[in-house]
């Protein structure tokens, strides 16, 4: 491939090789020097990209047309490589393909520094990078996919024609994407099941004696798994070299801020502790709780018990709205005692768990209330459970009845059910908010049960709106770049100011999301 408009001449050969392909496993860290401003810009841009990926992943089916289109737009806006065959010889404004790939490479490694520190950060970073990789790998033409596999040493054995014949029925019945023709035409790979967990988990593949049998067309899942594993190991290693990085005063504030920005508000810092009294909870649950918490509260009152999943989800929510540890203990205790649990047993078996939630036991981690994403995607309810997201985890019939019982209008109910059908669970909850609070359109984008509560209290309390940032993502980015380079040009003493401005923009970007 030719890169005639390369701005910087690279003397190091491995580097040139490195950017010869659009997609990479990020195996080798960048070896060059870059300016502080590039450091900052690259990192912030990639973070925006990952944040977009997170949001799109909740609102749309991954890799669907809308998802792909929106993501492509974002790639263009942020100058990341998105089409491997981009013809660089055409006159383009803006950075070349080479530069985009370089940015991709460097920004990834910078974010590793920011996101390797805790389990939660790592998990989030890995999840978004995997989704990003999935999108880009999928975009590759088949020839390039094969090339990528071989370049990265993923050699799995194929099965013989005889074996394919013997297993024909089983292979065809294991996946709706596999027909008799697929079996005949394509190579099937025999892969240890540990390398194909996603396919095993969803039972989308034939499994025998510990091996899964994958048609060539599905090899992407294997690649993703490999990518995930490598990244996970790399992050663990990166964490070890952190002390050295943190000692550099120029980098530390930015890295810190990057890692805090990802989640926006996590409702972990308790404001209003003690402002809510236990007597208010019943009425609050009807007025200001999202449906998931209302349901949990009702079930708790009715059966005087909740299973572990429900206790966690509801307990942390209560902590987020301002219940103190003492109040929480009293609340749960008085309810459980009405059921089959006596005071003694409660103190022995359940009180520990509640104190744990508040960070007073075990490893003293102060657990944060679950976001909508977490409630929808992790720990689905099973027999005897009432937790989860009602829009996601309830039978549509039951959900309808429940909404009727809560006096939602029939037209409102059908709107909600439509959204549920389209898998827009958070939007459905938002619609529920609008209907129960009698407002036309919510002024926020729902992503957290505690956010629902705060917004509800705001509406019921007289509607004092926070001043919203009007910046579009595009403008925020421009501001960030301008201010970033400004900071680099000025002496170190002025750097904090530039940083503060940029980080403000970062905050506002995430508020909008």
């Amino acid at each position: 491939m030719q890169f005639p408009s390369r701005r910087r001449k690279n003397n190091i050969n491995p580097q040139t090789e490195l950017y010869g392909h659009a997609l990479q496993f990020y195996g080798q860290p960048p070896l060059e020097n870059i300016s502080l401003s590039e450091f900052e810009t690259f990192a912030v841009d990639r973070l925006k990209l990952l944040k977009t990926i997170e949001n799109l992943g909740v609102s749309y089916v991954k890799l669907s047309e809308q998802y792909a289109k929106k993501l492509e737009t974002e790639f263009k806006n942020l100058n990341f490589p998105y089409r491997p065959d981009a013809d660089d010889r055409k006159i383009q404004s803006g950075p070349s393909e080479y530069e985009k790939r370089r940015k991709d490479h460097i920004s990834h490694f910078i974010l590793r520094l920011a996101y390797c520190q805790t389990e939660d950060l790592r998990r989030w970073f890995i999840q978004q990078e995997v989704d990003l990789f999935r999108y880009r790998f999928n975009d590759l033409p088949p020839k390039h996919k094969l090339e990528f596999l071989h370049r990265n040493n993923l050699q799995y054995d194929t099965i013989s024609v005889e074996e394919k014949k013997t297993l024909l029925d089983k292979l065809v019945n294991s996946s709706y994407a596999v027909s008799g023709i697929t079996v005949e035409d394509q190579d099937f790979y025999k892969v240890p099941f540990q390398d194909a967990l996603d396919l095993v988990r969803t039972r989308k593949v034939y499994l025998k004696a510990g091996y899964v049998y994958i048609p060539h067309q599905d090899i992407v899942t294997i690649v993703l798994n490999d990518f995930r594993t490598r990244l996970s190991k790399a992050l663990a290693l990166t964490a070890r070299s952190l002390p050295a990085v943190h000692s550099d005063e120029r980098l530390q504030p930015l890295l810190n801020h990057l890692s805090h920005a990802y989640v926006g508000q996590d409702y972990s810092i308790q404001k209003n502790v003690g402002k809510i009294s236990l007597e208010q909870i019943d009425s609050l649950s009807g007025k200001s709780f999202p449906l998931c918490m209302r349901q949990l509260h009702q079930n708790l009152r009715e059966s005087h018990h909740l299973r572990h999943g429900g206790r966690m989800q509801y307990g942390l929510f209560l902590k987020g709205i301002g219940l103190s540890l003492e109040q929480a203990l009293q609340f749960w205790r008085s309810e459980f005692i009405r059921g089959k649990v006596d005071a003694d047993k409660f103190d022995k078996a359940y009180a520990y768990g509640i104190r744990h939630m508040f960070g007073k036991e075990g490893k003293r981690a102060d657990y944060t209330p679950y976001s909508c994403m977490k409630v929808i995607l992790s720990n689905p309810p099973s027999q005897g459970d009432h937790h989860g997201c009602p829009f996601r985890h309830s039978d549509p019939e039951l959900l309808k009845q429940k909404l009727q019982f809560y006096k939602v209008s029939p037209s409102g109910i059908s709107q909600i059910l439509e959204l549920v059908k389209g898998m827009h669970y958070q939007l459905a909850c938002q619609k529920y908010f609008e209907l129960t609070h009698n407002i036309e359109e919510a002024s926020f984008s729902l992503n957290h049960p505690n956010q629902y509560f705060i917004e509800s209290q705001r509406v019921l309390g007289g509607g004092k709106d926070i001043k919203r940032e009007m910046d579009t993502p595009q403008r925020s980015q421009d501001n960030a770049v301008a201010k970033g380079s400004g900071a680099a040009r000025e002496a170190a003493a002025n750097a904090p100011q530039g940083l503060a401005e940029m980080t403000e923009d970062l905050d506002s970007f995430f508020q909008d999301a």
């Binding site: 019945n173 095993v200 988990r201 039972r203 499994l207 027999q383 005897g384 309830s394």
Partner: protein, 390 residues
């Protein structure tokens, strides 16, 4: 076989006897040592004890079989749980730099609890079980055992009766012990068909194509379903049950003769009633603590015994020996056993359990351990062949 009346108040007297003369320590150690192939495997294993008055102690660990014996005979635990193999000795975890003490390996485990079937049992509920609903356990074991062996390739599965209302499965293969959290969770999800909490009425949905795993599982269920559901549980006889069954059938089919849409609704009903219900969280965690085999169940007195699947269809949870029974048998061995013993055996009071009803379970455990030893030898031979050593 009647079990002596068990009264939990007797535990403080029975437990010392049990741990001194009946608990099969050498087999237990043989199991957890896994042939001594990996360094410190036994020493870094976490045990937890529940003592009298519900006192719970974690992070117990032992250097040798003898140390384990002495400690158990000293504290006489009411319950014993087995945890993971850690990076350091669990009883020294406080001295280890924070963040470096980690659970590394553990058997892959499954826990099937009868209370998870309450919405489809009409004979019992909660902690009760009877011979009618025990069939659910039989079905669960057959389905899971087949899948773990044929689909996943595991060979060394230890099924254990929990002592009251369920069974546990310990998958002891080396590959299983090394599985990550993600892998364990994937295995558990592969094996799950019942999806949905209290708010979901229809919990099983089948769509074309039917995966071979589901077909195999259906074969097992279909083998047992007619007798179980229609007679033992009287599913179509009792009105509530009829309602429950009907609630699962899509509305537009209710009043028409069965059409091609919804062709699987009979199978879906069978599965919702009979398919095993797993608690994924038990299987996921590498550091999860699970009740140990040969532990006593404080409420029923029954010993958590390993189950020989060759006799699965005749397994009777009510015939499992209680601690009171076997303690009694120590003084009064079962008739017919005396003559078979050699003089040597009579002298060895380490093998006291052989005089009791516990004997056959320990014998089966021995066979299980022999199987694993055989595998290890096979692996060593293969390795040395590859390296062309003598």
């Amino acid at each position: 076989m009647p079990s002596s009346d068990y009264d939990s108040a007797c535990l403080p007297d029975l437990l010392p006897l049990y741990y001194r003369r009946l608990f099969p320590f050498s087999q237990y150690y043989r199991w957890l040592n896994y042939g001594g192939v990996q360094k410190n495997y036994f020493q870094n294993r976490e045990f937890s004890f529940t003592l009298k008055d519900d006192i719970y102690v974690r992070y117990q660990s032992f250097s040798t079989q003898n140390e384990l014996e002495k400690e158990m005979q000293k504290v006489n635990p009411y319950k014993i749980d087995i945890g993971a193999i850690y990076s350091h000795r669990p009883n020294q975890h406080n001295t280890v730099k924070s963040g470096t003490f980690q659970a590394l390996e553990k058997e892959l485990v499954f826990d099937i609890d009868m209370t998870d079937y309450d919405d489809v049992r009409s004979c019992c509920s909660a902690a009760d079980i009877c011979s009618k609903c025990w069939t659910l356990m039989t079905i669960a074991i057959r389905i899971l055992d087949r899948a773990l062996r044929d689909d996943f390739g595991f060979q060394h599965l230890l099924w254990v009766y929990s002592g009251r209302r369920g069974v546990h499965c310990w998958v002891c293969d080396e590959a299983a012990r090394k599985l990550s959290v993600a892998a364990r969770s994937a295995v558990a999800e592969y094996l799950s068909l019942i999806k949905g909490g209290e708010e979901m009425v229809k919990k099983v949905v089948l769509m074309d194509p039917i995966h071979p795993f589901i077909r195999e599982s259906l074969n097992v269920v279909e083998h047992y379903f007619p007798r179980y559901a229609l007679q033992d549980q009287d599913i179509l006889g009792r009105k509530e049950s009829v309602d429950k069954v009907l609630a699962l059938v899509p509305e537009d089919i209710l009043f028409t003769i069965r059409v091609s849409k919804g062709q699987y609704f009979e199978k879906e009903i069978m599965l919702q009633y009979c398919y095993p219900r797993l608690d994924v969280n038990v299987s996921k965690g590498v550091n999860h603590l699970l009740k140990s085999p040969f532990s006593v169940h404080p409420k029923t007195g029954r010993i958590s015994v390993p189950m020989d699947l060759k006799e699965l269809d005749t397994f009777d949870p009510f015939a499992v020996p209680t601690i009171s029974l076997i303690c009694e048998e120590l003084d009064r061995p079962r008739t017919g056993e005396e003559e078979e013993k050699s003089e040597e055996e009579k002298l060895l009071f380490f093998t006291d359990f052989k005089r009791t009803s516990l004997a056959k379970y320990v014998k089966y455990f021995d066979q299980f351990l022999d199987g694993m030893a055989g595998s290890r030898k096979g692996d060593l031979l293969r390795k040395s062949d590859l390296q062309k050593e003598f």
